[in-house]
Chain length 362, copies 2
C-alpha cells in the first residue's frame, strides 16, 4: 500500500465567498452588519498596550469567557464548553458523541440543513440518515422518534434551521429529546438570537441535550472565532476530554479577551439583535410585495424564491449589481436564495435591485 493509499480522503465543506472587492453588499455568510460591542473595541485597545503577553500560552480553560457566559445564561461554568467558533465545537461534538453510530442506528439530521453536518459525518466515517423535511420545510418530530421506527445513535438539527430559517417550537424540540433518552440530541442554535426560542431551559430536565451557539452572527464576532456549548456537566466533561486530546490551547489570547468583552455587553446584544430582527420583518414585507415566497424566518437571513426565476439566475443578476447572496445547487432548494439581513439601507438596496431585475424580466 503506497503512502497515498493510507490517507483519509474527504470532500470538504465549501464556505460562502469572501470577496476582496470594496463597495460590495455582502449578504452571503450571515455576518452581522454592525460592528461589535463597544467593550470589544476597548478590549482590543487593551491588547495593544503591551503585546508581550503573546509569548505565554493562553488560559487553556478560557476562564473569563466561560465565567461571563455562565453569568449570562445562569448555569455553572462546568456546564459550558468554548471553542473556535461553533464549527469547532460541533466538529468536536461529532467526534465525541456520534462515532458509535451504525447503519442500523445512524446519526439523524434533516435533509435540508447546515451543509457541514454530512461533511463532519464523512470525515469521521459516521453512518447517517438525512431525514426529509415536510413539503413546507418544517421538521416533523415523529421522524426522529425510535418509538416510531427512527432508530438512531444521535440527533442534530439547527433551530432555527439553516438555510430555511424556520423555527421548531420548544414543545416539538422537547418531543424529540424526550423520545430519545438513549441518544444525545444537539440543538444547533447558531441563529437563535434573532427572535427564536432557545432550548436552554430544557437542560434542567434532560442530560442528553447539548445546545450549541456562536458569537459569529449575533455578536458580530465572526472574525474572532468564538462558539460555545451548554449541556450537563457530564456531557461537557466528555467533550472537554476530547478537546484536550486534540489541542490544549484552541482559543488564543485575543479571542478570550475580546470574546469575554462581547459576552459581558448584554445591552449591545439585545439592541443589535432586535434591530436585525426588525429589519428582517421589514424586508419580508418588501419582498412579499414583489412576489417572493419564503418560509417565515426567525433568523438573520431570509430564504426566498420568486416564481419567475431560478435561484442561480437571480443570484447572478444580484451579483452583477454588487450584491452577494448564497445559493445552494441542491435538490428541493435550487430555486431559493439565502439572503443575510444587513442594515435597513443595505436591504433597501437589495429591494431596489430586485425591482430592477423583475422589471427587466417583465
Amino acid at each position: 500500500m503506497s503512502w497515498e493509499d493510507k490517507i483519509r480522503k474527504v470532500e470538504p465543506y465549501v464556505a460562502g465567498e469572501q470577496p476582496r472587492e470594496k463597495n460590495i453588499i455582502k449578504l452571503n455568510t450571515n455576518e452581522c452588519p454592525y460592528p461589535p460591542a463597544p467593550g470589544v473595541q476597548a478590549a482590543v485597545e487593551q491588547l495593544a498596550e503591551d503585546s508581550s503577553f503573546l509569548r505565554l500560552y493562553p488560559d487553556m480553560d478560557a476562564t473569563p469567557l466561560v465565567e461571563a457566559l455562565a453569568a449570562q445564561y445562569g448555569v455553572d461554568p462546568d456546564r459550558i464548553f468554548v471553542g473556535v467558533g461553533s464549527d469547532d465545537v460541533l466538529a468536536l461534538c461529532f467526534l465525541t458523541f456520534f462515532t458509535a453510530a451504525t447503519r442500523e442506528a445512524p446519526l439523524l439530521f434533516p435533509d435540508i440543513t447546515y451543509s457541514f453536518y454530512d461533511v463532519w459525518a464523512d470525515l469521521y466515517r459516521i453512518p447517517y440518515r438525512a431525514v426529509p423535511l415536510r413539503e413546507d420545510f418544517s421538521i416533523d418530530p415523529a421522524d426522529y422518534l425510535p418509538a416510531q421506527g427512527a432508530e438512531n445513535s444521535g440527533i442534530i438539527f439547527p433551530n432555527p434551521n439553516a438555510p430555511t430559517g424556520l423555527e421548531l417550537a420548544p414543545a416539538e424540540v422537547e418531543r424529540i429529546i424526550a423520545g430519545n433518552p438513549d441518544s444525545i440530541v444537539i440543538v444547533d442554535e447558531a441563529y437563535v438570537d434573532f427572535g427564536g426560542q432557545t432550548a436552554l431551559p430544557l437542560l434542567e430536565k434532560y442530560d442528553n441535550l447539548l445546545v450549541v451557539q456562536t458569537f459569529s452572527k449575533s455578536r458580530a464576532m465572526a472574525g474572532a472565532r468564538v462558539g460555545f456549548a451548554i449541556g450537563s456537566k457530564k456531557l461537557i466533561g466528555y467533550l472537554k476530554d476530547v478537546k484536550f486530546s486534540f489541542n490544549s490551547y484552541t482559543m488564543n489570547l485575543p479571542a478570550i479577551r475580546i470574546g469575554t468583552a462581547a459576552a459581558l455587553d448584554t445591552a449591545w446584544f439585545e439592541e443589535t439583535t432586535g434591530k436585525i430582527a426588525a429589519t428582517r420583518e421589514r424586508f419580508k414585507a418588501q419582498i412579499r410585495a414583489l412576489g417572493f415566497e419564503f418560509p417565515d424566518s426567525r433568523s438573520n437571513f431570509v430564504f426566498a424564491r420568486h416564481p419567475a426565476f431560478g435561484g442561480a439566475e437571480l443570484q447572478k443578476a444580484l451579483r452583477a449589481r454588487g450584491i452577494i447572496v448564497r445559493h445552494f445547487e441542491k435538490p428541493r432548494i435550487a430555486d431559493y436564495l439565502r439572503i443575510t439581513i444587513g442594515t435597513d439601507e443595505q436591504m433597501d438596496a437589495v429591494v431596489k435591485a430586485l425591482q430592477e431585475i423583475l422589471a427587466e424580466k417583465a
Copy 2:
C-alpha cells in the same frame, strides 16, 4: 445502549501548569522569555485602530501568513499549511495520515517523546508502537526501517526530540525517510530554531515527508496559536481537505495579522533564537559544574538530572523557591527535569537555587 455508552472516551493530554502568581520564574512550558518581534506590537496596535473587522469571517486560507512563510522558506504557498499552533496541525495530520494504521503495520514514534503523540493515537484509535530510544536517549534509525522488520503505516518524531532535546543528524533523518517510501514521515520541528538542523531541504527529494514547526517557542507567540507544516503539494492538499472538513475558519483575524508580522521579522527571529541558544550553552556549563548530567540539547530547554536527587524532589525544591520546571513521572525519565531556557538572569537564579538546594542536601 445508553447515551453514555455511545461516547468516545479518552484520557486527555495534560499541559504544563500555567500559574497565576506573579514573581514566578516560569520555565515549564518552553515559552520564549522575550516579547515578540517589534512588528507584532505594531500589528496589534493596528488591530486596535478599528475592531469592526471582527464582524467578518477571516480569510480562511490565511493568505498573508502563508505568503510570508513561503517567502521565508523559499517554497510555493501551496506547499504550506497553517493552523492553531503546531498541536492543531499535528492533530489534523494524525487524522489525515495515520488512521489507516493496523496492529501489523502500526504508527511508530519513540518511547520517550512528545507526550501528545499517544494521546492523538488514542483519540483516533490509531494502533501505534512506541520504539525505545537507545540507552543514551538517541534515536536509532534502523528501528524505523521496514527492511529491518519495522513494518509501519506512518512515522512521527520530534527533531530535536522532546523532552530530551537531542538532535538526530540530517543524514539519519534521511535514512528513515528514504527507507519508508510507502509511509508518511512527519518530522516535528517545534524546537529546531535554536541551532538545530531542519529537514526542509529533504522536501526536494521526498514527497512522503512533512515538516511541522511552530511560532510558540522561537517566535514568542504561544498566546497567538500559530503553527505550520511544509510538505509536497499533494500532502498539503489532503491535509487542507481534512481541515476544511473540520472547521473552515480555524485561525482568527488577530492570529493571521500578528502571525504575518512575526513571520516577516527575520532579523528579530535570528537575534532572539541566537540569544537563547547562547544562554542555553552558558547554562549547560553552569549546571555541569554542579554535577548535573544531560543529553546535549539543541532546543530551548535542557533535560537534566542530578545523581543526588529524584526528579520530583528537585522539582518541588525549585518550586519552593519560585521556579517552575517540568517533570514527567514516566519510566526511564522520572529522575529528569525539563528546564526551559529563559533569560541569562533567570538562568542565573536557577543556578543559585540549585546551589542552595545542593548545599542543604550536603
